[in-house]
Symmetry: C2
Subunit: 337 residues, 2 copies
C-alpha cells in the first residue's frame, strides 16, 4: 500500500513513527506492505517512489522543521495538493490542520484523491463537520474507501468500536467527553479549587491548551466530533450549524465546588441523539463512567440490548492518533487482500 | 443458521428473547436467518426442525419452569447432550451453569458439537478456565468456529473489542473489574459506610448476590475470566490454578474509609499480564476509569501505540449477556455467507 501523507505536524509525524515501528508486524500479520512514497508539509515535499525512510523523515523534520530538506532522493518544492499528481499512491493520509470555517485544505485534497480512485484516511474534522454527506457520497460514487477514526477521540476507538464490535445492537445515543483539553481544565479546577483563568494559563504552559484556546474551550472541537458521530454512527444527517454549543469559559470554581458537595462533577458533555445534538457543561455523577479525569476522552453508547457500553481512551497525542490511522489503514488493506 | 440452545436459565432465556427481538433486523442487515430448532433445560427438551416459537418458549418457561412443556410440536424428555443427536443444527449455544471443578456439562457438550462439525457459542466459564487450550485446539482440528464473548463481562464486549477494533496495536496487559456482584458490594460499602456482612445480605435480598455467594466474593468468577482473557487476548497459556486469588470477604468498612480519605477506592481487580495473573482487592484512584460503581464491569487495555483504552459495560443481565452471544452468532454467520 503506497501512502501519500499530507500534513507533517504532530499527527503526520506520529504516522511516520507508527509505520516505522509497526510495518514489519503488519506485513507479517496482515500481509499488508505499508510504504510512504510522498510526504508534504508547508515547506514542500519529499518523494521517493521506492519508499521514504520514516526515521530519516522524522530526523530531518525535527532538525530543520522542513520535510523538503529530505535529501536522499527527491525533495522538492511541490506543495500539498500538487503532490497528488506527482506520486503513484494507493491511499492518501490527510493530516492537515482542522479548519471549521472552510474545511480546507482537507476537502480539496480528499475530493481530488477520490477522483483519482484513491482511498483516504483522515484525522481532520473540519471538512467532515461541514460537508459530511457530500464527502461520503463522493467516496461512494468513486467506489473508494474513506476512514476517519482518528478524527474523533484520538486513541479512543469509538467509530470502529461501534461498527465492528457491536453488530447485534442498535445504538440509540452517544453521550461523552470528546475534548481532552477542556476535560483537563475542569478536572484541575475540581482537584485544585483554582479559577478558570488560572487553570487555562497552567494548561497553556503545559502545552495541553493552545495559545489560542478558542476551538477547545468554546466547544467547537467537541461540536465537530458530535457531527461526525451523529452522521457516521447514528445516521443523523447534520452539519456543524445544527449543534447547540456552549463552552466552559463561564464555569466558575464556585459552581464546581457546589457540584462537588452534592457528589457531582462538571464536564463538557457532547450529546448525540435524534432528539439532541449539543455540547454543553453538565453535571455528572462521581464514580460513573463519565467521571474520568485529565485529558481522557470517553463515550457512552446507549444500545438496545445491552444498556450502556462505554469506551475511554486518550483523546489526543501524536502516536495515539496515529494508532487510529493505522487501524484504518489495516482495515482498508484487509479489504484489498 | 439452525441453533440448538442448551441451558434455558437467565442466559438461555435472554438468547430466546434477543433472537425474537432481532431476527428480522439480522436477516435484513446481514442475511443471516436465525432459527432455534432445539432447546433443553433440566426438564427435557423442545424440538422443532422448522423453528421453535421464541415467545411461546419463554411463556411456557415462565409458567411451568419446564421447557419440555412446550407443546406445539415435539416436546420430549431428551436431556442435554442427547439433544445434539436429535436435531439438525448448525450452531450450539451452550448456556449451562459454570462448574469450575469439572467444567461440565459445558466441556462434553462443546466437544461433541465440534466432533459433529458444528460451531459453538458459549457463555460458560468453567470449561474455558480449566481446559482452554484443549478446547481451542479441538475447534481448530474440526475446522469449526468457537466464540465466547459472553463468558467475560456480559455486555462489556472486551474480546471482540480487542480482536476487531484494535488491529494496529499490541495489547500488553489487561487490568479490570470483572465481577459485578463484588463491585456492587464494595461500592455500597463505600457509599453507605456499611459492613461487608450487612452489605452482602442486602445484595442477596436485591438478587445481585447469590444465596451461596462464594464464586463471586472469593474471586473465583473473576479468576475464571482472567484465564479466558489471558489465553484469548494475550496468548498466555494458563489455567485456573495459575491465578493468585484473593476475595473481598476480609475487606472492612474501616479499610474502605481509610482509602476514601486519601482519594482512593477499594475494588476487586483482575490483572492479566505476562508477569501477573491475579485477582485481589486493590486501591484505585477516584475519577479514574477504574472508579466505576454498581454492578458495572470494566477493563483497561494497555496497548503499545495508544497507551490505555478502557471499555465499561454491564457485567451481567439476561439480555445483556445474550447481546454478546448474538454478536458472536452474527460474526460466525458473516463468515459463512
Amino acid at each position: 500500500m503506497r501512502i501519500c501523507l499530507i500534513g507533517f505536524g504532530a499527527v503526520g509525524q506520529g504516522v511516520a513513527k507508527a509505520i516505522s515501528l509497526k510495518k514489519k508486524d503488519i506485513k507479517d500479520k496482515f500481509n499488508i506492505d505499508l510504504k510512504i512514497v510522498g510526504v508534504s508539509d508547508s515547506s514542500g515535499s519529499a518523494i521517493n517512489q521506492e519508499g521514504l525512510d520514516e526515521k530519516l523523515l522524522l530526523d530531518i523534520k525535527s532538525k530543520t522543521c522542513k520535510v523538503s530538506d529530505y535529501s536522499e532522493y527527491g525533495s522538492t518544492n511541490i506543495q500539498g495538493i500538487e503532490l497528488l499528481d506527482s506520486v503513484d499512491y494507493d491511499c492518501l493520509i490527510e493530516a492537515t490542520p482542522t479548519d471549521v470555517k472552510t474545511g480546507e485544505p482537507a476537502k480539496s485534497l480528499t475530493l481530488k484523491a477520490f477522483a483519482g480512485k484513491k482511498d483516504v484516511v483522515t484525522s481532520n474534522k473540519g471538512h467532515l463537520a461541514l460537508f459530511f454527506n457530500e464527502i461520503i457520497n463522493k467516496a461512494k460514487e468513486n467506489d473508494v474507501e474513506f476512514r476517519f477514526e482518528a478524527s474523533v477521540g484520538g486513541a479512543m476507538p469509538i467509530i470502529n468500536f461501534s461498527k465492528k464490535t457491536l453488530p447485534s445492537s442498535k445504538i440509540e445515543s452517544i453521550i461523552g467527553i470528546l475534548n481532552g483539553t477542556t476535560n483537563f481544565i475542569l478536572s484541575r479546577m475540581t482537584s485544585e479549587g483554582s479559577s478558570y483563568k488560572d487553570t487555562l494559563k497552567e494548561s497553556q504552559i503545559l502545552g495541553i491548551a493552545e495559545t489560542d484556546p478558542t476551538q477547545d474551550v468554546e466547544g467547537i472541537d467537541a461540536a465537530c466530533k458530535t457531527v461526525i458521530l451523529a452522521n457516521s454512527i447514528l445516521g443523523i444527517d447534520c452539519v456543524y450549524d445544527d449543534i447547540d454549543i456552549e463552552g466552559i469559559s463561564n464555569i466558575s470554581s464556585e459552581a464546581i465546588e457546589l457540584a462537588k458537595k452534592e457528589g457531582y462533577l462538571i464536564k463538557l458533555i457532547a450529546e448525540v441523539s435524534k432528539y439532541n445534538l449539543k455540547v454543553a457543561p453538565r453535571l455528572v455523577k462521581k464514580n460513573s463512567p463519565y467521571a474520568v479525569d485529565g485529558t481522557l476522552n470517553m463515550a457512552t453508547l446507549k444500545i438496545d440490548l445491552a444498556d450502556k457500553v462505554t469506551v475511554v481512551g486518550k483523546g489526543a497525542g501524536s502516536l495515539e492518533t496515529a494508532s487510529a490511522i493505522l487501524t484504518d489503514l489495516i482495515n482498508i488493506g484487509k479489504l484489498k487482500n
